[in-house]
Structures are given as structure tokens and as C-alpha cells.
């Protein structure tokens, strides 16, 4: 009986509709009543925990497929930079390796786990993705500058070290042992602030080199440049997940003090780097002095010599890895939001990979005090 069947279908549809309406009304009533307890003291139901965890695991696995291949993660400079950031950014919740989790933090739901286990289970790409994007419903934040995958890789490199016990080495890696035994006491020659004591965990000071080649040397930069940079970090126009939180916490006076301190530091002995080969340095010197006019690359020294404008940085003696990293960052569009950055972006995009390494090696090979002259002789043209 076709009509009969039809009617049966109709009845079923009606029943389903009524049930759906009641269900919706019930849920609305439940939510509105506030009966559900959101207290972090109450564990999730087992099913909720399972659901959230599975979802988290699967999601990380799927999305990390699209992460690009990592740089070599066993690079000590990368690990050290990651460790130094871990100390400031991650340890408050996840605790230093080997130390128990802070009692306040462990009241979170879910509590931040000790990282050795999860990192051992996950691939580097998964760790990277998690650090970069954070995790919903856990309190794990995303990296504050999404453009800075290079920084995230540094932290990833450090986290990869967890499975082998890093606790013993942690203070050295993260630069905690560079700090004076008691903060508040004048750490360096003469003046100093709480802020500065944190700076030297990574950067150079009168006696020490930077903790990692990926960290810029600041001694001898002009106050104009340093102040501009700190302001750009604080405003987020120069993106960095490592520097932004630090710069944001500084007030104007502290910034001025810091800039003055580093500008005063001036000359310091040549960093004891392993010397890259002389040919590379020579190629870099030629590029820095003459540019590569065929490809529209102006000489670096036109802006980075002794007679530069005050807000331009000096490059002599700068760490090669830092320079390389920044030029790559420019090429990938990670530094195009400030006026100064836009100028350099145009130039950086015209450099080849080899030119970047050459010119970085050249500047790194110079004594930091080198007063570079701008190129004056017109280059040979026909």
C-alpha cells in the first residue's frame, strides 16, 4: 500500500521532529540552569577525556603533515637558543627539567605535563606544530609571532633533547648560570637593572659572548638603533616570539638605560668563532663593498658603514648565523612591517643563498670595532 507506507514515513518524521525539539529544549534548559560544574577540581568524564585526547592527537598528526622539513635540530646554537627561551617562556608552567611542576600550575585542568614523555612520542614536526599553534582546551598558548617558524624550531630543537636527560646541562644551556648569584646586586660594571640581568642570559655583555650564534651581539650598537628595535619588538611590528614578551615588559626608562649600556660597551675582542674559509669572506667583502649591480643588490656598506644614519645597525663582528637567519626572514616576508624593514626587504630578496652566507661570513669575520668606510670609488663600468 503506497499511501499507507507514505503515511508511516510521515508519522516517523513527525516523531523524530518532536523528539528533536524536546532534546533541544532540554539542552537549553541544562545550559541555562548552570547545573554543570566547570570547576577545575572536577575531572572530566572518562569519555570526555578520551575524546579530547584523541582529537588532540589526531589533529596534531594531521596538521603537522603540512609542516615544512626542519632545519638540522642537533645544532647546539639552535638548542641553546631554545633552552634560553624555555627558561623564560615555558618553565613557569612546565618547570625546568628535573624539577617538579609548580604547585599552583598543577591545579590547571589538564595540568601541564612534564614534557619528556610526549616529546619522545611525537615527531619533530608534531612538536613544532604544537609549540607554534598551541592547543585548544588545555591552556597551551600559541607562539606569539606566527611568522617566526625559525624561533619555534629552536625551541623544538631543545625539546628534542628532553628524552635524554638534560637536567644536568640545563643551567648552562639556558644561560641561567650566566646570571649573577643574587639578582639586584649590580651585575655588570657600574649600573644595571633587573631587566639587564635577564638580557645577559642570551646576549653579550662586557665579558661574555652571546649564548648562541643565533643571538645578536649588541655591544657597540647605537642607542638610536637599539631603542628603535626595542620599540618595534614591544609594538609587535618586528615579530619575535622570544623578544616581544621581553620588550613589552620594559618601560621607556629601562629601554633607554639598556640602550645606553650597550652603546657604551663598545669594542671588545674578536669573537672566537671558528673561521670560515677565506674565499667566502673575500666574496662577502666584494659584495659588501661593491654590491651586485647586475641583480640590483646595492653595496651593504652604503648603509652599514661608519657614516651610516644613526638608526641603522652596525654589522661588523655580528654573529654570522644571526645575520643569515635575519636575511632569510626578510626573504620570506617576516620583517616587512616596519619602515626600516621594508627597505632591507627589497634588498634581501635579491640575494642568493650563497650571497647571504658570504656576506654574513664577511661581517662576522670583522673585528666589532672596525670603522668601515662606505664605498666611494665608482666601480668599473663600461
Amino acid at each position: 500500500m503506497i499511501p499507507g507506507t507514505f503515511a508511516a514515513w510521515k508519522r516517523l518524521a513527525l516523531a523524530t521532529g518532536i523528539i528533536a525539539v524536546f532534546l533541544a529544549a532540554g539542552i537549553a534548559a541544562f545550559i541555562w540552569s548552570g547545573v554543570y560544574n566547570v570547576a577545575a577540581t572536577r575531572e572530566h568524564f572518562a569519555i570526555t577525556t578520551w575524546l579530547l585526547e584523541t582529537l588532540r592527537r589526531q589533529s596534531v598528526e594531521t596538521y603537522s603533515y603540512f609542516v615544512e622539513s626542519p632545519p638540522p635540530l642537533d645544532d647546539p646554537d639552535l638548542i641553546s637558543l631554545g633552552a634560553a627561551h624555555y627558561e623564560g617562556g615555558c618553565a613557569p608552567c612546565h618547570s625546568r627539567p628535573g624539577e617538579p611542576i609548580d604547585a599552583i600550575v598543577s591545579g590547571m585542568l589538564p595540568p601541564p605535563p612534564p614534557l619528556a614523555d610526549p616529546v619522545a612520542r611525537q615527531s619533530s614536526k608534531e612538536v613544532f606544530w604544537t609549540v607554534k599553534h598551541g592547543l585548544k582546551y588545555t591552556g597551551m598558548p600559541a607562539w606569539s609571532s606566527q611568522e617566526r617558524g625559525d624561533e619555534v624550531w629552536a625551541l623544538t630543537a631543545f625539546l628534542r633533547q628532553f628524552p635524554r636527560d638534560v637536567a644536568g646541562d640545563y643551567f648552562r644551556l639556558s644561560g641561567v648560570d650566566r646570571l649573577p648569584p643574587e639578582t639586584g646586586e649590580s651585575p655588570t660594571h657600574g649600573g644595571g637593572t633587573v631587566a639587564l640581568t635577564q638580557c645577559i642570559r642570551c646576549h653579550d655583555d662586557a665579558d661574555r659572548e652571546t649564548i648562541s650564534n643565533l643571538v645578536p651581539r649588541l655591544a657597540g650598537q647605537s642607542p638610536d638603533y637599539l631603542l628603535r628595535t626595542l620599540a618595534e619588538y614591544a609594538a609587535g611590528t618586528r615579530p619575535s616570539g622570544i623578544m616581544q614578551p621581553v620588550a613589552e615588559s620594559l618601560d621607556q626608562d629601562e629601554m633607554r638605560e639598556l640602550a645606553a649600556y650597550y652603546a657604551r660597551l663598545g669594542a671588545k675582542p674578536q669573537p672566537n668563532n671558528d673561521r670560515p674559509d677565506a674565499k667566502r669572506i673575500e666574496r662577502g667583502r666584494i659584495l659588501a663593498t661593491n654590491g651586485d649591480s647586475e641583480n640590483g643588490v646595492p653595496p651593504c656598506l652604503a648603509c652599514h658603514s661608519a657614516s651610516r644614519a644613526a638608526a641603522f645597525p652596525a654589522l661588523a663582528g655580528q654573529n654570522a648565523d644571526y645575520l643569515t637567519g635575519q636575511l632569510r626572514l626578510w626573504q620570506s616576508g617576516g620583517r616587512d612591517t616596519t619602515g626600516y624593514g621594508q627597505i632591507m626587504e627589497t634588498v634581501a630578496r635579491r640575494l642568493t643563498d650563497e650571497q647571504i652566507s658570504d656576506v654574513a661570513a664577511y661581517f662576522a669575520s670583522l673585528p666589532p670595532s672596525a670603522a668601515l668606510d662606505r664605498p666611494t670609488s665608482p666601480e668599473a663600468r663600461q
Partner: protein
């Protein structure tokens, strides 16, 4: 049908008349020997083609609308062979001969014994102009070409990057600038004056904004101008301009631009030694005045998108004012 067949050619002729032939970039208003020859050729062609078109239209109208007797006159292979084969074969032979004859008159016998040689290099998206005078002195300029009137001048055309095409419609037809090749064009200007040229081969990005002016000058004026052009740049006189010069040097402008007589010796961008004396800025995109300089420095990417100069948003208003007044006095 019939009506429109006549309306269109008439409208065409009207268009030509009404719109006139004036224009600083018009091939119909020639002041150069080659452009004049081509102009004559153009009119011969236009008249010939108009005539052929009208006759064809008349024949077609007869075929369509005329009475049986007239139509039967056209209804055979005779028409096809006569009008479709013999007529074009004969007339086109004459036209071809004329065209080849005009082609053969090209080149000219430019007298280069006085030693003046001019090269123009196409760059994205501007023109590098290099004069070499009889002393072998190399004088570089940009986006403006000055030539003497009344004698043929040979111009070497090359490209620094992609294919461009050098075209000054009032003076001569276009000639491409091709990487790896040097083409030589003879310009023989008959009367002094300003004409405008433009890149005629699509060269990407700001192709539309790659123009220049050609200024044809009497021989004597030209010599004087060239002597002036060979000199170093004016030194700034007042305080504003001096500050501008200092800013120009310290901000790295000299990495790409040359201002002869100063520390600025860059070779990537246009030579600015006498930029203030040119007719235009940014390859005939902006007028030449201090305000335009300021606009260009601050907003170049908006005025001429994709141009290769880095944006310079770092200057304050006062700094811009001093920079642009320094540049404007480089006359």
C-alpha cells in the same frame, strides 16, 4: 547593409579629421626623417585600403541588392579570378615594392666622426642614457634623451634585464632592446622640440609607466647642454639643502644612485647628478618638482607599483622636505 557600408568609411575619415593629428607621442605628427617617410607610406596605405574597401562594398551591395541582370554580371569565376587574384597580385606587388623601397631608405649615413655616441639601456622600468663625447668622456643620465637637430644620430639600444622596445613615434618607428644584442637606431630630427617616447614591448610590472622625453635642440644649444651635463653636481647652498644632502648620503641613497662629485656612486638606479633639470621624474610618470620628489620617496610603490626602488617610509616630514629640496636643486 548598403547604408552602413558607406557610413563606416565616412565615419572613419571624420574621426581622423576631428581628432586631429597633434600629440607629443603621435606617429601622425612626425618631426623625424624616418617617421616622416612612414607617415607618407601610412597615408598611401590608408587611402588605398579605403578605396579597396569601398569598391568591395559596392560590389557586395550589387550582389546583394541589384537586379538580376547586374547580379548575373558578377556571378562567375571571372569575378573571383579578376578581383580576388589578379587585382591583389598586381596592386600588392606595387605596394610591396614601395614598402621595401621605404625600408631601404632607413639607416641613414650618420656621421659619427664627431665622436658623439649615445646608448640607451632599457631597465625595469626606466631608461639609462649614456652619452660619450668626442673626448671619450662618459656622461650618464636617465629617462630623458637630448639630441641635436639636423643631423642623423645613431643610438645603441641594449637591455639590462628583459626585452624592452624603444619607441618615439614622432621621430621613428620602434626598435626592440633585447638582452645579449645591440640594435642601432638612427634618429634624424628635422625640427627642435619635445617628443615623448614609451616602452613598446611588454616588460612586466610597470611597463605602462616606462616613458621618457626626447628633446631635440639646435646644434649649438646641444653642445652647451652636453658640456653642462658633463659637470659635477651643484653643491647645495642653503642649510635645508645641505641637510638634505647629508641625509641622502647617510640613508644609503648613494648605494643605488650616483650624484657626481659626492660620495653617492651607486650604479643600480638612475643617475641623479642633474635630475632637477629633467622634464619628468620616474620615467615620465611625475612632473619634476620638489613635491614630486617627496611623494616619490615616500610613496613610490603606489605611484609606480612594483618599481625596484625600496620604499622609504622612514623619513619625517622635515627630513623629506630637506631631501627633496636637495634633489630639486641638482639642476
Amino acid at each position: 547593409m548598403m547604408r552602413c557600408c558607406f557610413v563606416w568609411p565616412a565615419a572613419a575619415i571624420l574621426l581622423f579629421v576631428v581628432s586631429g593629428c597633434a600629440g607629443v607621442q603621435s606617429a601622425l605628427d612626425p618631426t623625424g626623417a624616418e617617421a616622416e617617410r612612414i607617415n607618407t607610406l601610412s597615408w598611401v596605405l590608408i587611402i588605398f585600403c579605403t578605396a579597396v574597401f569601398i569598391i568591395t562594398a559596392i560590389i557586395a551591395s550589387v550582389a546583394l541588392f541589384a537586379n538580376e541582370r547586374w547580379r548575373q554580371q558578377l556571378a562567375g569565376e571571372r569575378l573571383v579570378i579578376g578581383a580576388g587574384l589578379i587585382f591583389p597580385a598586381v596592386t600588392l606587388t606595387f605596394l610591396l615594392a614601395y614598402g621595401i623601397f621605404v625600408l631601404g631608405m632607413g639607416g641613414g649615413s650618420a656621421d659619427t666622426s664627431d665622436g658623439l655616441r649615445i646608448s640607451v639601456v632599457g631597465e625595469r622600468w626606466w631608461w639609462r642614457v649614456i652619452y660619450r663625447d668626442e673626448n671619450g668622456r662618459r656622461i650618464e643620465s636617465a629617462n630623458e634623451l637630448r639630441i641635436p637637430v639636423g643631423r642623423p644620430v645613431k643610438i645603441d639600444l641594449t637591455s639590462a634585464d628583459v626585452i624592452h622596445s624603444f619607441w618615439v613615434p614622432k621621430l621613428a618607428g620602434k626598435l626592440d632592446m633585447i638582452p645579449g644584442r645591440t640594435n642601432t637606431l638612427t634618429l634624424d630630427v628635422t625640427s627642435p622640440g619635445v617628443s615623448r617616447g614609451q616602452c613598446a614591448e611588454y616588460c612586466g610590472g610597470a611597463h605602462a609607466l616606462m616613458s621618457f622625453f626626447v628633446i631635440a635642440m639646435p646644434e649649438k644649444d646641444f653642445a652647451a647642454w652636453l658640456a653642462d651635463e658633463a659637470k659635477d653636481a651643484h653643491q647645495p647652498t642653503d642649510e635645508l639643502e645641505t641637510r638634505g644632502q647629508a641625509l641622502f648620503i647617510a640613508s644609503g641613497c648613494g648605494a643605488c644612485h650616483t650624484v657626481r662629485g659626492t660620495a653617492a656612486t651607486g650604479a643600480i638606479g638612475p643617475d641623479l647628478t642633474h635630475v632637477g633639470s629633467r622634464h619628468s621624474l620616474a620615467a615620465a610618470t611625475l612632473p619634476n618638482n620638489a613635491e614630486a620628489f617627496a611623494r616619490w620617496i615616500r610613496d613610490g610603490q603606489h605611484i609606480k607599483p612594483e618599481n625596484l626602488m625600496p620604499p622609504y617610509p622612514i623619513f619625517s616630514d622635515e627630513e623629506l622636505a630637506s631631501l627633496s629640496s636637495y634633489l630639486a636643486q641638482l639642476r
